[in-house]
Amino acid sequence: MDLKDYRLSDGLYDELVTQSGRGRIGFGELSKFLRKSDAASLNQKKAAAELAIKTLGISFTVYSDGENIDRQWPFDIIPRLIQEAEWRRIESGLKQRLKALNCFITDVYNGRNIIKDGIVPGDIIQSSKDYRPECEGMRPKFDVWAHICGTDLIRDADGTVYVLEDNLRVPSGVSYMLENRNISKRIMPELIERHGVLPMDDYPSQLFDTLCSISPRAIKSPEVVLLTPGTFNSAYFEHAFLAQRMGVELVEGADLMVDSDDFVYMKTVEGPAKVDVIYRRIDDQFLDPEVFRADSMLGVPGLMRAWRAGHVAIANAPGVGVADDKVVYTYVPAMIRYYLSEEPILPNVPSYLCSDPDQRQFVLENLRDLVVKPANESGGYGMYIGPRETEKFTGKMRKQIVKNPRNYMAQPIISLSTVPTWIDDKLDPRHVDLRPFILQGKHNYVTAGGLTRVALVKGSLVVNSSQGGGSKDTWIVRTNVAEATARVV
């Protein structure tokens, strides 16, 4: 495969190949490997990857017609590479961000100084769909509410990495990140070795340590459980995977109960056993039918009582969603300055708040060049992409913004970077994003890399696996000094 034949898209940033058609510095081993490979050998690796996915049973679940349908995990064999030096900076930026977000959540439910000091307008919190009055006055251990965060990063045309959003509610994808590495190890072990790829498989033990650190009981082995909505959930594979890797019980709501002493117990063959920490993978509204949705069959009646009494830790804590909101997002750089007295290391994508009259005016005048997002939807739902929509929908959007400005924010269209992807016997650029996972408990931690999602359809920016997106292994490669010097000389 000659990289000269790799057709870059004009004006976009490709992560492996420069506009002049040369491999980027530091990624020489991968470029060399691709140059030496022919279609047959890459197809062979592709087949090996597909076989591994099949026998390892790596799947995501789609529920339809009353049945679980397992789709095999879509994986592209060409890894996406990032220099270690750049990664270290991103890593500190991610830790900084989660620290500030946790300070913000503590503040929102206790005192609200950030509002009193005029940094964040008060109505943003009052009107947030995910503000939970039940959490007022709570101080979880270490003042950490969001213990697990999946932050979406994108790279613009000039190479700058931006934060697109912070997923604090129940971020998923980490199991696929780990399985992608397993597949790479099977199909290109020598390349991993030559690039000195940073390992990432300590995530489950780091997660377990984080969860143990927030146990209310100071005992050597606290009882940690992972609460899943069950097999019908699309992320069930991940729930089972993580429970197994951490060696904790995978429980459903019906396996737990809150007794009259306000402690949480799980039902075992030996009788009830006390639970210290719940890593929940269900949304707030389903957690406790006594407090939130009464029709929830997934939750545990009385769970909020036990949590408020400090008898059980819940990760992420109830009420974190208040900081996972597209409008609150725009204030994160301000939060970093306010709580940590630091400058933000990672920039936000420039955003316009429709609640601000001047910014709203700008949005309405430039609607066709912008992306408009509803404040508290996730997974790309309800998004408006200016250049692509019909006149009719644009008019409707305009009316909705005027009617309910708090619900919307707008951003310029970012040209996501591309990575060579093996499609129909050739290397073709496809758009990618990146979701690293950040942990915060007694200590904090960032995965070495993250889940790279790739839009497999040419020109598409949609990376969701349910909508034709795929994934790639992400390699943080040790900076190769010799190679860098050789280029300069």
Binding site: A254, K267, V269
Partner: protein, 306 residues
């Protein structure tokens, strides 16, 4: 361990055992067919063994070879595909307790059964196909036996396997007796073939031969399959093993009592009863009823405690 997980492991054990049994039944009956007169009743018997006659009749007019094999391949009630799917759904939620290879084998089995039904209907390919299924089941059991700690999860799995096995053995005996009641005119040579088929369908032929020196006859076969203490598919052995598993579990009084009851009535079946098909049928009914009482005792003691 979680009560729900214990229950799912138990069902996983049952469904895996059922898959293996159905595959073996089809294989053995396909062979038997070659040795019996064309009008023989054997395909009808297979449906009877599963206990899903009405589901079969809803779908097919006649118990022809093709129809029965198709039914046992893909019907939602009791087919290879259905039992594997059930086993896999139970494994999905308990896989963290079993060796990783079990889940891999489970997936292999699942994909194998996603194959076209013709693989099973076509007589030339049937044998290979069924052997593949049986081999996968055995490999899977090998991983369970070889690398699972002897703790509660293992015992629940084993309980499922042995209760299912005991149940299947009683069904095979029962249907064989029913066939004999209706068909007195069958010749002695065929009678012999039939009982050999019964032994083979439970993989018992060789061990029976080593145990019983006399020529194959109904009384000895049924006695062996009901009471033998050493053959792993005889009802007697299965129940002893169920009792051993129960002894390793906490709060076991109720279940232990239920298992001992099955043991007692199985041992009590006399030669007189064995000689009379109708009396035997009644005894087997009784054993099956007590077996299902063991199942209920598991629910009460461990799975659905309130």
């Amino acid at each position: 361990m979680l009560s729900r997980v214990a229950e799912r492991l138990y069902w996983f054990g049952r469904y895996m055992e059922r898959t293996e049994n159905i595959a073996r039944l089809i294989a053995v009956y396909s062979n038997l067919l070659l040795d019996l007169p064309k009008s023989a009743f054997i395909w009808d018997s297979l449906v009877k063994i599963t206990g899903f006659e009405s589901e079969f009749e809803d779908r097919f007019a006649a118990a022809s070879e093709r129809n029965v094999v198709k039914f046992l391949f893909d019907d939602p009630s009791c087919s290879l595909r259905a039992t594997t799917r059930q086993a896999r759904e139970n494994a999905r939620t308990t896989r963290d307790l079993m060796p990783n290879e079990v889940w891999e084998k489970m997936n292999e089995l699942h994909y194998l059964l996603a194959a076209d039904v013709s693989k099973c209907i076509n007589r030339n390919r049937r044998h290979t196909f069924l052997s593949e299924i049986i081999d996968l089941c055995l490999e899977l059991n090998g991983y369970l036996n070889g690398s699972m700690s002897r703790k509660s999860p293992y015992y629940f799995l084993k309980l499922g396997r042995n209760i299912e096995r005991a149940d299947m053995t009683t069904r095979v005996i029962d249907v064989a007796c029913l066939n004999l009641i209706g068909l007195t005119k069958i010749q002695e040579a065929q009678d012999n073939i039939l009982w050999m088929g019964v032994l083979q369908s439970l993989n018992a032929h060789q061990m029976y031969r080593q145990q019983v020196q006399d020529r194959i006859n109904d009384v000895d076969v049924v006695d062996f399959l009901l009471k033998d203490e050493h053959f792993p598919r005889s009802v007697g052995y299965c129940i002893s093993d169920v009792t051993r598993s129960i002894k390793h579990l906490p709060n076991n009084t109720l279940a232990l009592r239920a298992a001992r009851r099955v043991k007692r009535i199985t041992t009590k079946v006399s030669t007189d009863v064995l000689l009379d098909s109708e009396q035997l049928h009644a005894s087997i009914d009784d054993i099956q009823e007590k077996l299902s009482a063991v199942h209920s005792s598991l629910l009460q003691s461990w799975f659905r405690t309130s």
